[in-house]
């Protein structure tokens, strides 16, 4: 239902989305992190929550980003199962330290921003 509001998604995709419970996220890579993804700053992605749940955690999103988005030097982005210290994360423009970091739950159409503080100055 809410899927119809999405921009630029053709009807077949919409059908699959509602069928498979896909969630849509808008990810921004900033502060030099985009260099790890062929300099692409904005990524619109569809993800399927595990076990048919309605929400998904940042931990899940991060491992997805690492596998599917990061093209080079993943160590600049991740350390262990979290972001590398010095990479800031905002979920809907709110510091993820306020929402539980890796345990932050995401909802459909959330906007997640990753900003590296480690580049330049």
């Amino acid at each position: 239902m809410t899927s119809f509001r999405l921009v630029g998604v053709i009807s077949i995709v919409t059908l699959i989305r509602s069928f498979k419970m896909l969630m849509f996220f808008c990810l921004f890579l900033r502060g030099g992190l985009e260099l790890l993804c062929d300099s692409v700053k904005i990524h619109n992605v569809d993800l399927e929550p595990e076990n048919g749940e309605k929400q998904l955690t940042m931990k899940h999103l991060l491992s997805w980003v690492r596998t599917n988005l990061i093209k080079e030097r993943p160590e600049m982005f991740m350390k262990g199962d979290s972001v590398r210290p010095g990479v800031l994360v905002l979920v809907n423009d709110c510091d993820w330290e306020l929402s539980g970091q890796l345990d932050t739950t995401l909802e459909d159409k959330d906007v997640v921003v990753f900003i590296s503080t480690l580049h330049g100055g």
């Binding site: 590398r84 010095g86 800031l88 330290e97 100055g121």
Partner: protein
């Protein structure tokens, strides 16, 4: 926290300062959860307090902001011009940039600085390595390779900023060094055993005996807050790594600081405090600050580091002056002394043009 507002907005915690708006970030310094507007206010007010308490400026001074186009200097230029207006500092502010001559890196970031010039209405002066030293970093790297080129760049940049500041006839130079940078430098100086720099690196103002004092208004400002401020205010900055060498040694210290910050954010201020409280026993022999015999720039050796490096470049001996500073400096000054007879044949860039 369990008021009606919290119930209405289950996802948002309220700002601990205004208790009205949804908190947008957690301050590393205090762990407070605050909203955007309160963040702007405390961020700017803290910098204002640092400026006032440390008497960084006097009315009607001309002040150059060392501007790289990166996050720190962009936020510094924005906040300083804002505070200058708001609190009537009466300062004449300028942007000062150094063009190292690195294609694909500095030329792009200089575009950012040129936009900042228009956005903040601050006059911009660019000095280049090419005009000051006769070499661009691209040319230097072509000669010496990817190793050690940061030594050249660092030494040259320091002098270049001083010369640019002299050209602008400013009274002071401010740089965007933040708390994380300073904590990192404290650690590096301890690791290197460089007690002379260790005692200097935490001073908020340095070079007061020299021609152009430098100060760091962001000495107590966390990098996280600077980046958050730039993000929320949508400030236009450039971020990329230099295409030559990521300065591995500093990188280790940087990573360590960031790891510490994650465990205990106060650690950064604590390291700065330790650096400030560090005292050198009076019996320790410290290097004497003199002037370079060739260009007149402050130096504890016969020749300043930039002149030694330039000498090497121009003579085709680029390894000159590179390596461990301890001992290496004496050797190079010795070897220069021995070769003094040949100096006039060297096509060297005059670096004595700075009016001291």
């Amino acid at each position: 926290m369990e008021g009606e507002a919290a119930a209405a907005k289950p996802k948002g915690r309220l700002c601990v300062i205004c208790n009205q708006k949804r908190a947008a970030l957690k301050r590393p310094k205090t762990l407070e959860q605050i909203c955007r507007e309160c963040f702007y206010a405390v961020f700017e007010e803290e910098i204002h307090r640092v400026i006032v308490d440390n008497q960084l400026f006097k009315p009607s001074e001309r002040v150059a902001i060392g501007a790289s186009g990166g996050k720190d200097s962009t936020v510094l230029a924005y906040v300083l011009s804002e505070l200058n207006r708001r609190h009537n500092y009466g300062l004449d502010l300028f942007l000062l940039s150094v063009d190292e001559g690195i294609t694909g890196y500095r030329d792009d970031s200089l575009e950012t600085v040129k936009r900042n010039e228009i956005q903040y209405g601050l006059p911009l002066k660019v000095v280049s390595y090419k005009e000051l030293y006769g070499w661009t970093m691209d040319e230097i790297v072509k000669l010496i390779g990817m190793k050690n080129n940061c030594t050249f760049c660092g030494v040259f940049r320091r002098q270049a900023l001083d010369r640019g500041a002299a050209l602008l006839k400013v009274d002071k130079l401010v740089t965007g060094h933040n708390a994380d940078d300073i904590a990192e430098t404290v650690l590096l100086n301890i690791l290197r055993g460089d007690i002379a720099r260790l005692s200097r690196c935490t001073s908020i103002t340095t070079g007061e005996d020299g021609p152009i004092p430098r100060c760091k208004p962001f000495k107590y400002t966390y990098e996280k807050e600077i980046v958050m401020y730039a993000y929320f205010k949508k400030l236009d900055y450039f971020s990329t790594e230099c295409i030559y060498s990521p300065n591995a040694y500093r990188g280790f210290a940087r990573e360590f600081i960031k790891d510490l910050e994650r465990i205990r954010p106060r650690a950064i201020l604590d390291i700065i405090k330790s650096g400030e409280d560090f005292r050198i026993s009076t019996s320790t022999k410290m290097p004497e600050q003199g002037n370079c015999e060739r260009c007149g720039y402050i130096s504890s050796q016969k020749w300043c580091k930039a002149c030694v490096l330039l000498e090497g470049l121009n003579r085709g001996l680029p390894k000159l002056g590179i390596g461990r500073t301890r001992g290496a400096n004496h050797e190079t000054s010795k070897s220069i002394k021995q070769r003094n007879g040949t100096t006039d044949s060297i096509q060297s860039k005059q670096c004595g043009s700075l009016d001291f």
